[in-house]
């Protein structure tokens, strides 16, 4: 079994990134395009660009039947799903299977198991890996309060049917438990029409640490070390790094071995990520497993030297992993910044616009995975992430310095981006000392705001006036006598 033609069922920076590797190893490539999309780097790299249709561009990228037909029609023997869209959709794997096309990823069963958060949690717990203590009302409603009490304080009450933080309550002492349960139940009924609850131990100031794993589905699994992703806004990561500044070498081995153990327990095939909540006391608990390549995989590539997409394609073609844990080192430090079209000073509101001028940073240890081209435009059709800036340094301080320099050199004009905000995070003393948690951006919101000072405002206004062709022309057309008057009128 080998792959000679690959369809990338995705778009943006990840499509370009996967296509580059596929082309480099001699695989013919194809990518999709919805008629509403502008030119992107992926379209320039792929050997073939295939139009897909749908009521919205996103609907087209989620259309299993249409994408499977396209793959069949062009004779692709494999499909890489990237991340998002159909990357964790068991029905897509099934459809490709029926068409005799390889899905670059794990099996349908593993996607199903890990996609169900309660089943995944129980599976991991039964095999002896750490999960946050919790109690599910449905298991036995009669003694739910007793079991909730046994979880220990502080605890978090959540509606079983919930999402988006609605109906969630933190309870810090026993006297608040029963009223907390009643309030959460009323809210669950109101928001979701379902009053069933579950509780779990609430981790104060948690960090988000995850581990890259890779398996061949033939019993071999290794890990590619951890990534720390605690810098989040609206529960979404915007800056990731590896190694995590929080872990001692012993803790690092322990958390990475746990992740590899979980992957081994499902005989994992392909690239995956096991996510953990890491508590201030050093405890860590399984959160979920993502059965795909992650947005932040490049930091792992920078410190290990591996091309994870090349490994994915090798395994998808049926090869054995052929790697021992000892073959995978962690050299230096890497940071990724997610460049998003959004206004960080206005509650991260997505921004749109035309890219009037773009200049990407270069230099030692700098990598840009971009989904945009100069002259392109940013619409609300897709996710606001435009590109990723990844740096590598010999140590964390050098990586921070390189990330700052590269972020400052990265010119994107015409649409508001979070580049300045990301630079402010890198410059923050608490970030620099590694003292971060998932609450960092909310707690330091004021310190991360930027207002141009008076001298800067003068410069901006002068540049705006003098680059305004109509304004300058009008001034220059004024007859000499009035121009002289203008000089002494005030």
């Amino acid at each position: 079994m080998s792959i000679s033609k690959l369809l990338v069922a995705n778009r943006g920076e990840i499509a370009a990134r996967v296509l580059r590797t596929a082309r480099a190893i001699g695989i013919k490539t194809a990518v999709l395009r919805h008629p509403a999309e502008v030119d992107t780097p992926a379209h320039a790299i792929a050997d073939e660009v295939l139009t897909i249709n749908g009521p919205t561009p996103v609907a087209a990228y989620l259309d299993i039947e249409q994408i499977t037909q396209v793959a069949t029609r062009i004779g692709a023997d494999a499909v890489h799903p990237g991340y998002g869209f159909l990357a964790e959709n068991a029905a897509f794997v099934k459809a490709l299977d029926a068409a005799g096309i390889i899905f670059v990823g794990p099996t349908e069963d593993v996607i199903d198991l890990m996609g169900d958060k309660i089943r995944a949690r129980n599976f991991v717990e039964e095999r002896g890996f750490p999960v946050a203590p919790s109690a599910i009302e449905d298991d036995n409603p009669a003694d739910f309060v007793e079991r909730a009490r046994a979880v220990g304080y502080p605890l978090l009450i959540k509606p079983s049917a919930g999402g988006g933080g609605k109906g969630m309550h933190i309870v810090r002492e026993d006297s608040q438990l029963e009223t907390g349960i009643e309030t959460a139940r009323r809210e669950g009924e109101r928001y979701f029409g379902d009053g069933r609850l579950f509780v779990e131990r609430y981790i104060e100031d948690p960090r988000h640490i995850e581990v890259q794993v890779m398996g061949d589905g033939q019993g071999n699994v290794v890990h590619f070390w951890e990534r720390e992703c605690s810098i989040q806004r609206r529960f979404q990561k915007i800056l990731e790094e590896t190694p995590s500044p929080a872990l001692s070498p012993e803790q690092r081995d322990e958390i990475c071995e746990s992740a590899a153990g979980i992957a081994r327990a499902v005989n994992y095939r392909g690239a995956g990520t096991v996510e953990f909540i890491y508590a201030a006391d050093g405890g860590f608990y399984f959160l979920e497993m993502n059965t795909r390549l992650q947005v932040e995989h490049p930091v792992t590539e920078m410190v290990t030297g591996f091309d994870l997409v090349a490994e994915q394609l090798r395994i998808a073609a049926g090869e054995e992993l052929g790697l021992q844990q000892g073959d995978i080192g962690q050299t230096g430090h890497s940071i990724e910044l997610r460049i998003c079209a959004e206004d960080s000073d206005a509650d991260f509101r997505p921004a749109i616009g035309d890219i009037l001028l773009m200049d990407e940073p270069t230099g030692p240890g700098v990598r840009v995975d971009s989904g945009i081209l100069d002259g392109g435009s940013v619409t609300t059709d897709f996710d606001p992430m435009l590109s990723k800036l990844i740096v590598h340094g010999r140590n964390r301080n050098e990586a921070i310095a390189r990330a700052r320099r590269a972020a400052q050199d990265y010119v994107i004009l015409g649409v508001t981006t979070n580049l300045g905000y990301l630079d402010a995070i890198l410059a923050h003393p608490k970030f620099q000392s590694g003292d971060i948690s998932t609450g960092f951006l909310a707690e330091e919101a004021d310190a991360l705001k930027h207002e141009p000072d008076a001298a800067t405002q003068d410069i901006l206004m002068a540049a705006t006036a003098l680059s305004d062709a109509t304004l300058v022309q009008a001034v220059e057309n004024v007859p000499e006598i009035y121009r002289m008057m203008g000089a002494w009128r005030n």
Partner: protein, 169 residues
Amino acid sequence: MRRILEINGEETPIWLASTGQTHVLHLGEREIPCSFDPATGKGSYTLEIDGARIPLRVAVGEESTFVHLNGRAYEIGRTDPSQTLGETGGGLAQDQMVAPMPGVVVSVDVAAGDTVTEGQTLLVIESMKLETTIAAPRDGVVAEVPFATGDSFGGKEILLSLVPLEEAE
């Protein structure tokens, strides 16, 4: 010639003059001599201001100018104050009254469905501490009034629209 520039929601009226040798930016009471020359690289310029030579990257958009300065991008909104209030939103039918700059609605004198005659007061707005009456540009029927008294609006927002002539009886 004047402009109203907006940085971080704060508006500043400016005007530009020339001495023949250099330009002079008038910012309120202040007069700042400055000059602006292209440098190497797309959108690269050197701004000379207060004796300092400052390298920057500039891209001029339709309503805003984007400047990359000292490792950071800024957006500066540009408004031409001579652009009349209530200018049509495109087309000759004069169907939409568009706000040229952000402001507040002082009063709303008509409602959707009302028949209006040319010159009739439709609403009163305040922008840049200046009260302006928006009058009907033609006879017609009010289609929509998206704002109520006391509401704020942004630049380029539609303040009121009339039923297009071809749809009206």
